[in-house]
Symmetry: C2
Amino acid sequence: MKKITIYDTTLRDGAQAEELNLTTEDKIRIAHKLDELGIHYIEAGWPGSNPTDKKFFDEIKKHTFEFARLTAFGSTHLAKKTPAQDANLNALLAAETSVITIFGKSWDLHATTALGIPLERNLELISNSIDYLCQRVDEVIFDAEHFFDGYKNNPEYALKALKAAYQAGASRLILCDTNGGTLTHEVAATISAVRKALPNASLGIHAHNDSEMAVANSIEAVRLGACQVQGTINGYGERCGNANLCSVIPNLELKMGLETIGQGNLERLTSTSHYISEIANLRPFMRQPFVGASAFAHKGGIHVSAILKDAKTYEHIIPETVGNEQRVLLSDQAGKSNILFKARELGYELGKNDPTVDLLLRELKQKESMGYEYSVADASFELVLLEALGTPLNYFRFQNFFVVDAKREEDAEPFTEATVIVDVKGQVEHTAATGMGPVNALDRALRKGLERFYPKLSEVKLLDFKVRVLSGAVRDTGGTASFVRVLIETGDKHERWTTMGVSHNIIEASWQAVVDSVNYKLFKDDLRDTL
Amino acid sequence: MKKITIYDTTLRDGAQAEELNLTTEDKIRIAHKLDELGIHYIEAGWPGSNPTDKKFFDEIKKHTFEFARLTAFGSTHLAKKTPAQDANLNALLAAETSVITIFGKSWDLHATTALGIPLERNLELISNSIDYLCQRVDEVIFDAEHFFDGYKNNPEYALKALKAAYQAGASRLILCDTNGGTLTHEVAATISAVRKALPNASLGIHAHNDSEMAVANSIEAVRLGACQVQGTINGYGERCGNANLCSVIPNLELKMGLETIGQGNLERLTSTSHYISEIANLRPFMRQPFVGASAFAHKGGIHVSAILKDAKTYEHIIPETVGNEQRVLLSDQAGKSNILFKARELGYELGKNDPTVDLLLRELKQKESMGYEYSVADASFELVLLEALGTPLNYFRFQNFFVVDAKREEDAEPFTEATVIVDVKGQVEHTAATGMGPVNALDRALRKGLERFYPKLSEVKLLDFKVRVLSGAVRDTGGTASFVRVLIETGDKHERWTTMGVSHNIIEASWQAVVDSVNYKLFKDDLRDTL
């Protein structure tokens, strides 16, 4: 089976994304995760460019990797220096990686305008830099920057740039669509031309997504003979991002029968994607192919009914091969099938003609029109289900809360205090707590009131807190009076669960989500005790 | 110039997206917007499938469109009915659109498994339905569902399905990659085969993005002879979405020299994309090609320095052709060029060696590491700039605020009241206000205190309020004690501006953003008065 190497530049090119901001610790964790995934090359940064990158390379020397080869990235030497004098090349060597990747100009416009040097001199920079480095490290890869635009405008010059790198000893020539403007058939034609001109060279592709073709271009390049694909996890990168490895890898493995990270590792793809988006502090894109939460999520009644007969009818691959899963959604487009499926998933067998199903469907559509979205808050849905089944929970009854935020100084955070009054099986508890914000204070006050009766609540930890302003209401009532939806993710030693609240008032919305979360925990504990 | 028609299914296929939930009013507004954009066909829904869609078609009869042709979508008639008896076909005719689009099974598996009928009968359903409708409306389009998978598995049968539709009078045969699993070169080969088998048929492409190739597949299909592309705005749709028309259209117009909506309308693309994401209540995807906020945003120092010489060096098209714009970002990767550019954009000429620039760069990097993101809050940045230039604002001085949320009943929202004490040029104002939530109450109380001195504050309207929990801190302190970033968008009759606040406490973060917003307004009013 033909093997394609995967070269990840999440830590370098990916980090140039507008919304990305990684610390050294973040990068180290990501590097190890990529190593576990079976990535062949990890381009970890540009040591000559800024102190953060340099610090990273100093740190990473203390770490070992099972499989991946770390690479340091940098530019050809400055025109007015020799390689030995060049600070950038020296920084690359000081990084002590076994592989160095050098990028050089292959578009004549860039040499003359961006660098302001003669075309011949640019070729020398490429040869000199690569020759110098080849004598000092195991492997030097050449990134032909702007190759496709360069080839369109001055094909002879672009090929000269490649040849200069090849003859100087570069192990691989990576053709970069740096501006991301190249169409798929143009990539195919260009790669064919390069293969004719340099039949023995090992080629790679580095695509950008400005025309929304980076993945297709990468696949097409491999089909035409490239044996390395460069990209990033989740397609992060400057402007529209790099080729998304989370799409490239499964396309190569599952549809083209090529070996990249291996099918065992492929099952880690979804969890790797999530892990990295979490470290990056970026909301995952639900519609992301292969690994996105919606990638195998079915909403329309007809689709649901068909996939329940044969998943192949509406799924192009088996979700588990990439570590994802099929989901059936509840929505106002839901039919009875969706409710039955969801209830069964939660452990409740309902008959198709059970009046509860109609009741639930009506309740669901009505709440969804107010902004509730049960497809993302399973635990809240389960509580609605219990109430519809005539078995509402009764662990405590709300009486009163009172939250105060008082700010007395210009540069201090407010002092926040909450008091809560709840009736727990006839006993009234009145508690108070401070907090780092109003929701934190309420949560702590409530738990204080309940822990005496339900000690297991102390195991509970709030893991995540998401707020979304439902701008449907913005147009009606103005910015700060919109509907707000709060999602809280909670966990204990058994599981994690998500609950939701919706209100004009962010405190009220958070309170609903906190109450649902506590009720869910108590309900599950009871279930566990009876088993 | 060859013309390619654009067929938009945002209101039908797009609406099957997990996160999408459109009301009838939403759909009407979107339909008019698409008409203004120059879209040729608007597939507005499936009248036979649910009451919401049917209601929409009843409503839309009262509206006229300048340019677009509305289409109603539905399935072939039920096997056990005749066309005249079929409820779905009758609902289609009752919608009274001039165009009807019928989808039929072209993959044998779907006929036998999903529908449970013999293969010959499926072909009859296609012929009968189309023949019946062709006699009653101007135009009938045939969507060959799952065509590419169907062709892979049983090419003769797939072609028979097309022929049945063609002979029955379908104006166009749309080849659908319904599961989204087809690779670009496979699309090319299949379309070529179809063109050989049916040389006089007018073909279209309807791609899904499950392999992240929908746009590339659409472009390739056009290159091989398709003359209609079906897709959605922003790529909305079930699972991974449909082909993104915001990428398809500029690729066809600007890179392939084909006419779609016309270059005048092309300039409306970005605003149309935003308008529709706002109606859909979905956060726009920043990295979206062509129209995304980051599509022409440059962060790295080297890129910024090059594009300031010639934008072509890092931009594949001129942003204004699609109604977008170039942006230079401030970040910890910013160099002096970014600061100078940003300051100049705001009207301040700073010298390269002005010590303010270094001061600002340091301030910026420090604040960004805490979670501030000035790239999205220009007005807050301008206030930081003013302070660095030694001209801080002095419209009012904070002394105290106090916010209370008191909930006394199970199903009621809390009563919220804020008091604010500010010193306005030596005069102390102590005001109180209620609100629909704590931030709304604070905002109202503050403005009450200031409006006596600055009457123009009454022109100000809060337009949007965004909250983001910076989950970097979640791992350290737990869910409800994370850092929160609040962005407020404000507007008056002159402009709109965005301000920001960051804190553990959501009230404090909101307060910072509100204060910046008020200060910015007062500052701009002063500037206008002096001009």
